[in-house]
Structure formats: structure tokens, C-alpha cells
């Protein structure tokens, strides 16, 4: 990814190279117009066959063709224990794919008391008969047909759009239990299609639930069981074009259904990037980011989604909302963008977004620092934030997660590497006296101009040294980030062996970070014990983002549920208790996952009665008939 060349090239040379890259990008673009940059208006709806086969795009209309219907990610990619009992990561898509991970089995057995002998198998295929027949609004369907927007009421399509990736949702799917699902799925192709659909929905009183990447972890996609109207899932995945790139202002106008990896790849072809990289970026969509106030791992350089958006369009039952210009900042009353950002699909569908783009970074460098303990690590991050010199990304893992990361080391090929690893371990634990049960590690990612990166790197390592941190090499850092996309697959492996778990996040002022981490982890352990969980749970955290006034903290929580009659209920109770503890310790309800229906109960105390009233009155004005009836947030 890194462009290591042109270190000493003159400014003009750089400009020339930049132009060249962009032109190359244009020349290389695939034949199919749909999938590349174009400024054309929405064409007549393409026929079903060629839309689904569009090349270069990750998400087809029939998602279940390439993705798991009851787990995370691509169907061809998963963890499993092979015949020798070793953990293996299948497929070809990731750097870890096809590799053996020798440490994983021991880690799972040691941490959870899980055993390879005890499997909890998932239902392999969806049984269509367990899905309720669709409750169609005939008049709506009739009129929709005449607009030519593709739709489906296949059981598979509907089930796929009835869930996000909360534990209880996936657990139910694995058991073959299907609750209320949308009655129909529509695939608008462009902004105008969405306008038509919303108009029809209003006319026929149909409930619309916008669907982007389906990676929600807040029960936001669950169909409200009390909804009696026909529910239509509005899948934006086919609205996935970059409509134009403005190199003078460094903005790009993009359809909101595009998923993160496509957006980055297409922009990269022109020599640009957005720099917005949430952990779910392979599957989550631009519209989804806007609707949940997403945050990317490299926000220190590029900003969170609210900093990246310059302009957007949302289709609501009242009509289209957008600003009249692209001024970088305005003083025109409360920013209407902030009604859209975080609206979680309750007000309308985000269709097109103009967002900032940046030239691709010239140089990238990973790094890692080992700290004797978590407290020192947090102190170091705090200092980095204070000096405002945070690298593109910095993440601090606690000891349990450090061990977990260690367990995910793939088998090394040469004796030399393992020898070096052994030596490193010896140096840190024996020579430096770090306690292997207390030490923790921070992974770093630097980005930008090569000289500046090296300078920046030095500055950060100097600060780290003041807090007892030792540089632990690029490899460890890089592996940490590589695992970001792989970790989500691991939950499915756990679920094959009676282990359930999930992550949740919060943001918290600096002075409370340590107290909150300790309290929440202790509360999880305490609650598990109270509720009869037989084995001690995995309860770990990491600090994933730094801000001037605080940090974002991620918790991972998993346990072995053998011996429990209703594991999901126990899980939910523990998660609830953990969230209470977060709030009591000064943490927020959510940093970037959103509220959905999962955390709705705490909204009132979070934003006050008046705040609720304000949001409610916006909803009442924009969508009086509750067409966007997913019942999130309020």
C-alpha cells in the first residue's frame, strides 16, 4: 500500500506523479460504467441479471451468495479446527487465510475451559418454512412494479435483512429461529428510485427500514415485532457509485450504499482515499456510517464521519433534505447535518454524500510499544493526546488481549523467526523485568510524508519511553491491525464450541479511563459468577481512540456457556449490567456503535427529557406516519 518512492522528489515532480496516477486510474477503470466513477445521472433501471453480476463490487443483491447467512463475513472464510486439531483460517481473502494458528486451541481451552470435543453445531441451511410468509401491501407492490425498481420476497433475502450482528441475533439464526422479518426487499439504484419508493411507502402506509451493510450491533435492524404494516427493507447496496471527484476542493460525491472497501479501492485508483476505516469497513456502507455517527480507526488524521461529510442528501417522508452549498462551515442555526448524523434510519434514507478525500499517504509505518502494565500505557496515551501528537491510529490492549493476540500468531516458517521471537520474549520478561501477566501492548500506525512519519515516530517513542514503554517492532503492530478484520470471524468459531461473546464500546474522560476499565471488567466477572456461568469469563478491554478530553474504550466479553439453560439471556443480563457500570463510572452510552433498540432504555437519562423531546419533535415533523418505523433511538 505504501508508496515508498519519491522521497527526495521536487514538488513539481510530485504533482506530475499525482496526475499520472489519477489518469492511470481513469484508464484502468472497468468497462462496466456502473462500477466506476461517473457523473451520469441515474440511468434507466438495469435488468436484474447484469446488476447482480457487476464486477468489482463486493455486494451483490443476493448477499447470501457470497456471505454467511448466520455468521460474519464471506462464506468461504472461517476459522475451524482441522483434522489434526489445529486451528486454521480458510479462504484466500486475508493475509491470515490458509495459515495454521497453533496457539489458538490452547488459548481457547485455557481461557474458556472450552474443549474441541464439545461442539455446538449451527443449523447449516435456512429452512424457508420457518420464515413467516410475507405480509404484502398489494397496492404498494403493484405501483412499485411500474417504477421498475427491483424487489424480492424470497425467504433468504428477507431473513438476511432482518438482523445485524448482535450476539442474540446470530445465536437465534444458528439455532434456526427466525422472528419477524421484512416482508419484502427493494434495491433502489439511485437517489430518484429512493424518492419514488418513499413516496409510495407514504401513500400506502408501508413501513420502510433502510439497510446498508447489515453490520449493526445495536439491534437496529430488528423488525419491531409490534409492527403490523408490511415492512419493506430498503437495501442501498446497489447505490454504490462514486458520482464525481472534485480534485480542486478534494471532495468526492458518492452514493450512500457503497461499502467501505469499495469506496477506498475506487478512490485509491485515482490516488485518493477518505481515510475512514471503521473495523467493519469491508461490509459497512457510507449511509450506515452517517446514520450511526461512525468512527474510523485513523480518525486522528482524517476525522470521524461528522468531520468528513461536506454535504448530504436524505430522502424523508417530507421530501429531500440537503444544504444549498458546500461551504466548509456554516453559521446557519443548528447544523441540520446533525439531525441526519446518528438518526439511525428513523427519519429517512441517506442517498448521496459529498465527503472529503485526501491524497493517498506517501508512507505508512506500523509500530508497537510494550508497557509494564495497563496503567502506564493509559498514562502514555494520555500524554500523547495532551501533546496532540497521536499517530493515525494508536490502540492500547490490556494484558488479556495481549495474550489473545499472541494466541493468534500464525505458524512461523523459519527457525530463525521463532528464535528471534524467543529472544525478544526473554529480553522483555527477564532482562526488563516485565511481568508477562501484567504487561500490555500498544499498536501504532503512522501515515504521511516519509520524513514526517519518522520524526513523528521518534516523538511518540520518546513519550512512550517516559512511561516505561519499549518499542516492540513493526511486525507486532502490523499483526495487530491485520487481526482487526479477522477477529470478527472468531466469534463464529467460539459459537461452534459453546463460547459466546461480543464487544461493546464507550467513550470516557481521561481521568476515569482506568477506573472504568477496572470496574466494568470486574463487574462482568462478578455478574457471570452470580448468574451461574461455570467458567470464568474473558473480560478484557482496549483503548482504541484518543481525544483531547478522553478516550474510546472497547470491551470484549465472552464466556463458555455449557451448563446454562438460556445462555443468551444470561449474556444479555451481563451486558446490561456492564453498560450500567460504564454509565455509573462516567462512560457514555456509545462512542460509535449507536443506540438502536439495544440501548434505547438509557436514552432519556443520557440526553435529558428536553433532549428527548427535541428529537421526538423532529421525528414527528419529518415522519408523522412513522414510515421509517424501525423504532430505533427514541
Amino acid at each position: 500500500m505504501a508508496f515508498n518512492s519519491s522521497g527526495g522528489g521536487s514538488y513539481r515532480q510530485q504533482i506530475a506523479q499525482q496526475r499520472l496516477r489519477i489518469i492511470t486510474g481513469h484508464l484502468q477503470r472497468p468497462e462496466d460504467d456502473d462500477s466506476a466513477i461517473s457523473a451520469v445521472e441515474c440511468k434507466a433501471p438495469s435488468s436484474e441479471s447484469d446488476a447482480s453480476s457487476s464486477e468489482g463490487k463486493t455486494v451483490p443483491r443476493r448477499r447470501h451468495e457470497i456471505m454467511k447467512w448466520n455468521g460474519w463475513g464471506y462464506s468461504d472464510t472461517r476459522f475451524l479446527f482441522n483434522k489434526k486439531g489445529q486451528a486454521e483460517f480458510t479462504g484466500k481473502r486475508y493475509r491470515l487465510s490458509g495459515l495454521i494458528i497453533p496457539g489458538l486451541k490452547d488459548w481457547m481451552e485455557g481461557t474458556f475451559g472450552a474443549s474441541v470435543q464439545h461442539k455446538s453445531q449451527a443449523t447449516p441451511i435456512l429452512n424457508s418454512s420457518s420464515v413467516q410468509p410475507p405480509n404484502l401491501n398489494e397496492a404498494f407492490v403493484e405501483e412499485l412494479k411500474s417504477t421498475g425498481v427491483p424487489y424480492s420476497h424470497d425467504a433468504e433475502d428477507r431473513v438476511f435483512r432482518a438482523h445485524g450482528h448482535c450476539l442474540h441475533e446470530i445465536f437465534a439464526l444458528r439455532e434456526g429461529k427466525i422472528g419477524r422479518v421484512p416482508d419484502m426487499v427493494v434495491w433502489p439504484n439511485c437517489h430518484d428510485d429512493v424518492v419514488k419508493i418513499v413516496e409510495l411507502a407514504c401513500k400506502h402506509n408501508v413501513c420502510l427500514i433502510p439497510y446498508g451493510g447489515g453490520t449493526s450491533v445495536s439491534s437496529a435492524l430488528e423488525c419491531p415485532p409490534e409492527e403490523t404494516r408490511s415492512i419493506v427493507s430498503l437495501d442501498t447496496s446497489q447505490m454504490n457509485r462514486i458520482l464525481w471527484i472534485d480534485e480542486k476542493n478534494l471532495t468526492a460525491h458518492v452514493e450512500a450504499g457503497i461499502v467501505g472497501q469499495d469506496l477506498e479501492r475506487l478512490l485509491n485508483e485515482s490516488g485518493y482515499c477518505t481515510g475512514h476505516e471503521p473495523d467493519s469497513m469491508e461490509f459497512s456502507s457510507l449511509g450506515g456510517w452517517v446514520a450511526t455517527r461512525a468512527s474510523g480507526m485513523k480518525k486522528n488524521i482524517y476525522g470521524n464521519i461528522e468531520d468528513l461529510v461536506v454535504h448530504m442528501k436524505m430522502v424523508t417522508p417530507r421530501g429531500v433534505i440537503e444544504k444549498s452549498c458546500q461551504g466548509p462551515r456554516m453559521s446557519t442555526g443548528p447544523d441540520i447535518h446533525h439531525f441526519i448524523l446518528g438518526s439511525e434510519g428513523t427519519l429517512g434514507v441517506v442517498t448521496e454524500v459529498t465527503m472529503k478525500i485526501r491524497p493517498m499517504p506517501e508512507y505508512q509505518k506500523y509500530g508497537s510499544v510494550v508497557f509494564p502494565n495497563f496503567e502506564q500505557g493509559v498514562a502514555c496515551l494520555r500524554e500523547i493526546a495532551k501533546q496532540r501528537c497521536a499517530p493515525a491510529s494508536v490502540r492500547l490492549m490490556d494484558n488479556e488481549q495481549f495474550k489473545f493476540g499472541h494466541a493468534l500468531k500464525p505458524q512461523v516458517s523459519s527457525i530463525f523467526t521463532s528464535f528471534v521471537d524467543g529472544l525478544k520474549k526473554f529480553y522483555i520478561t527477564k532482562f526488563k523485568g516485565f511481568d508477562p501477566n501484567r504487561l500490555c501492548v500498544a499498536t501504532l500506525l503512522f501515515e504521511g510524508n516519509r520524513d514526517r512519519v519518522l520524526q513523528h515516530e521518534k516523538q511518540v517513542y520518546d513519550i512512550a519511553a517516559k512511561f516505561g514503554g519499549l518499542a516492540a517492532g513493526e511486525d507486532n503492530g502490523q499483526r495487530g491491525y491485520m487481526l482487526t478484520f479477522v477477529i470478527a470471524y472468531l466469534r463464529d468459531l467460539g459459537m461452534d464450541y459453546y463460547v459466546i461473546g461480543e464487544s461493546f464500546e464507550t467513550s470516557v474522560p481521561w481521568d476515569r479511563v482506568l477506573d472504568m476499565c477496572r470496574n466494568v471488567k470486574a463487574r462482568i466477572v462478578h455478574e457471570c459468577k452470580e448468574r451461574g456461568v461455570q467458567f470464568p469469563p474473558l473480560s478484557t478491554c482496549r483503548v482504541t481512540q484518543t481525544y483531547d478530553a478522553g478516550a474510546c474504550v472497547y470491551f470484549y466479553f465472552a464466556f463458555n456457556y455449557r451448563g446454562l439453560s438460556d445462555p443468551v439471556h444470561v449474556y444479555e443480563q451481563v451486558e446490561h449490567a456492564a453498560r450500567e457500570e460504564i454509565l455509573a463510572s462516567g462512560g457514555s452510552l456509545s462512542h460509535h456503535h449507536g443506540v438502536g433498540k439495544l440501548r434505547k432504555a438509557w436514552m432519556r437519562e443520557t440526553i435529558s427529557n428536553v433532549g428527548m423531546g427535541m428529537l421526538q419533535s423532529v421525528k414527528d415533523y419529518v415522519d408523522p406516519a412513522n414510515i421509517f418505523g424501525n423504532r430505533n433511538l427514541l
Binding site: D511, D515, R518, N519, A522, R523, L583, A584, G586, E605
Partner: protein, 590 residues
Amino acid sequence: MAHRLQLSTIRFFAYTLTKVFKNLFRSICVNEEGIQRLQQAIQEHPVVLLPSHRSYMDFLLMSYILYTYDLALPVIAAGMDFMGMKVVGEMLRMSGAFFIRRSFGGDKLYWAVFSEYVKTILKNGFAPLEFFLEGTRSRTAKSLTPKLGLLNIVMDPFFKGEVFDVNLVPVSISYERILEESLYARELLGVPKPKESTSGLFKARKVLSEDYGSIHIYFGQPVSVRSLSQGKIDRCQFNLIPRHIPKKPTEEIQGFVNDSAYRLVRAQEENMVLKPWVLLASLLLQNHHQSQASGQRPGLTRDELTQQAAWLRDLSRQYGAFLHWPDHASPSEVVSSSLSLHRGLVKMSEGRIQLAVEQGGQVNPGEPRTAVTPEEELLNRAVVILSCASYRNQALHVFLRPALLASALHAASSNHKQEVFNSFSFLRNMFSNEFILCPGATVQDFEEACFLLMKTGELQVTEHEVLVTERGQRTLGFLTNMLDPFLQGYQVVCRFLCEEASEALTEKQFIPDVRKFIIKHLLAGRLRYSEVLSSDLQKNALAALLRLGAVQKMKGAQQGTLKVNKVMVNSLEDTLGGKLPTQKAAVARL
């Protein structure tokens, strides 16, 4: 402030204390499962030890026990006055004590530094913290109403999320015979507490030659602040202000801390081991007063006493008392051995066991006896009575609720349940400075009392009526008698305020004046209980009247003077005496 732990000092203490304890006491009993629980608790979360406070020995004993069981030595919050003691003060400091002022007044800096110090000890969690909820030694062996300041401070880190939890461990230390026995009695009668001094400690060494029986230390179940506050305290309230900024606790928090403090003191009470002597003291005291009133020969024969003691033993057991009655010995042996330990308080004359009141007590046998005025004789007698009463007081918490009910039945004009309850609630309210009665638990207490008396067949409680059974008379008589000195004491205080209080009565002057008034009445034979001379009772009565608004403290120019609402005090007195029905008193209170 600040403690400086030094192992050498501790070893020195451990050595001397072993010697001293062996000399003084027959045995020190500790519940080992409590020690194990404590050990566990120390490993989990910061621990606060809350021992009962009956004697100077308490904190030495605590450290000694923890040292013996190889547990982390506690850091003890001790009163400033100990620091005045030369060498010893420093030595106490080196064995983990730190000294604090007894009151802070308005000194905000002192408070801030002090609370930060305590919180730091707690958060670091290297050593358990120890302080006395009652704030000072109880001179009467009744638990004192808890002081909330320190409890507030130790709960604060939990509320603010600085620790996951805090374990509060109530510890009950009961002495078969209290070292300060007669000292306390004299203090209550108006001889001021001697200043703590090293020479005083040396002078006190003569106590070494006496036998003080055994000590029981009971480490109670650790109480988690987290579970106590569950659903009661919203910790989010601390989210919006930096945690280091001191803030006055909200009413919600104050209420919670107060409730918790009462619960903890109740736990201390319930775990207090009672010796047979405590029951004997109760019986002998009642006998003394009855014989005085009826003019019979005082005292009980050994058989009578044994028989009554066995009866009371069974009763107290049914009420859930934590009684240490050696079952392997016959009751008469138990009685004799108890009596022999408290030779100073009882005497045998003509085969009857009675309180040793005639000789004016054996308090200072060394001092030459001069001509005795009636007043001095009265005081000397009162010393014995008060010492004896302090033993009875140890058992008071067992009988308190049924006794309140018994007195309420006695006072109520009918057997109507509502009326009995009103009367009960009035008495309970009146005495809530005197005894540990959890705030807002009137109904529970009433029901508990009914339940206990029904269980033992003394009472029949129907939907509307409360009836005393035939066999209940004896018990109820005993219970009413138990509370009677207090009732009379409060009445006499009220009478004083109505009859004698001048406009310029100050709070300072209250105790000496009321004492004079009582002595006058006692000498004239208008008052039966010399126990009423206890300044503790008088103070509590005043506090109750202040709380009820019958007396007001003046502010401004006449600072410290008391303004008496004579009509109200009068009606309270009449209600206490059973002359007025309780409803009227309730109106008067409003």
C-alpha cells in the same frame, strides 16, 4: 495525621500485649470463620473494619488479632487526644494509627486533606482501614448512634467509581468485664474523663492484677457497599464534576449513609457475645429496684437467681440473642462463676445475693473513707448501679423491640392494635437517640416485636387487637421493667425543663442543673432509679427533645441557650407517663 508503620514497634507491642493480655484475661475468643471471610474480603476489595467501641483495648486488640492471624495490619483513625501521650502516641502511630481531630468545625482544608488521606489508603488497598462508627467509647455499653463523617468518606471512592467495591466488616468486641467499668460510671456521674497521658497509663497498671474474664471478638459478615447501594444510589450523579472537587453529599447519599450506618451498628449489636452475667445483672438490678419500692428484703437466694437466670436464658435465646452460656456446666455453676468474676458489684448477705450498694461500692478501696454526706452516698451507690446497668445494657438490644411493645401495651388505653401501634411508635420515636433504631423502620420493628412475643406465646395479635396471654404477664412485666428507668429518666428531664429551667439555661449548664434536680428528687425518695443520674441518658433526652422541636437551640446573641416550649414538653412528659393518649402527643409534635 499520617501513620508510620514500623514492624519493630509492632513486634514490641505484640510481645508486651501478649504478656499483658495473658495477665488480664482468661481467654480471647475469635470466630475463625470470620477471620477467613476477612482474609477473603481483603484479597477482593478494600476493607474497612468497624469494631464496636467499649474500651481503650479495642484497637490494640484488633491489631493484635490481625497480627496473630497474619493479616495486613489495619490503619486506624484515632482521636487526636491520643497524640498528646508522649512516646506512646508515637508508638501507636508506628503501629498504624493516625490521629484526627474529633470535630472539624468549619476547617475545610483539614477536612479535604483528611478525606483525601483516608481515600488514598483505601484506594491503594494495602491495608484495611479501621475506625469506630460510634465515634467514641460507649460509657454505657449500649451502642451509640453512629457518626457518619468517616463512613461517608470511605463510601465516596465507591460512589465515584474509584474502587469497584468496599467491604465493610462490622466487628463486635465484647468484654466479660470492662477495664474501665467504674471509671465510666464515675464519668457518667459527672467526674470528667481524665486526659490521656502516659503517666496515667502507667498508673493504670494496677488493673493488671485483676481478673477480667474473657473477651469475645466476632468478625461479622463483610457488607459490600456495592450491594448495599444497589438501586438506591445513582452513581451517574458524579459524572459531571471532576472527582477531586469536594462536594457536600446530596440528601440521597446522606440518607443512604445514615441507613447503612444503622445497619452496621445493628450488625455489631447482634454479633455481640453475651455472657451469663449480663442476664444476672438485669435480674439483680430489677430485683434491687423492686425491693426498694416495696420495702422487701433485697436480693435473691442462689436458687431463685439460678431459676430466674435459666428462664431469662431461654427467653433471650428465643429472641435470637448471641448468648455464650456454657451448656456443659449446670446453671448454678454458671451463676457462681459469673458472680465471682464480678465480686465488686454483688455481695452475699444472709444467704441472699444482692447488689453491693451499701458499702458505697468497692471502687477505690485504697482511699481513706471520710465522713459521707447523703449526696456522696447516693453517688457511690449510683456507681454500682450504673456499672451494673452497663452490663444489662449489653443485652438491651435483644429485648428492646419487645420491651417497647410491652411498654406501649402498658401505656395504651385499649388493646386496639392501632392504638398500641401509635403508642409504640411514639416511644420508639422518643427513644431513637437512646437506642439503635433504624430510621424509618417503625412498622418492621413493630411487626418484629409482635412476632417475637407471639412466637413465645406471650401475646395474641389479631387483625385489630393485641392481647396479653396468661403466661405472658411475667415476660411483659420483665420487659416493661427493663425500659422503665429510661421512661422515668425522660420524664424527669421533661419535668426539670418545665419546672426549673430558667430563660438563660445554656446547653453547657443543662447537665449540671438537671443532675442537681435529679439528686434532689432521689434524696427525697420521689424517684426510684438512680440510673437516671447517667449524663448519657440526660443528653439523649435533650437530643430527643431538640429533635422533636420541644426545645430549641437559640442562635445569634444568646448562642447556646435553650428555649423550652413548656406546653409541648409537658404534654410529652404526660404521654411518657401514660397520662395522655398518644394521639394528642402526636398533635403536639406537629
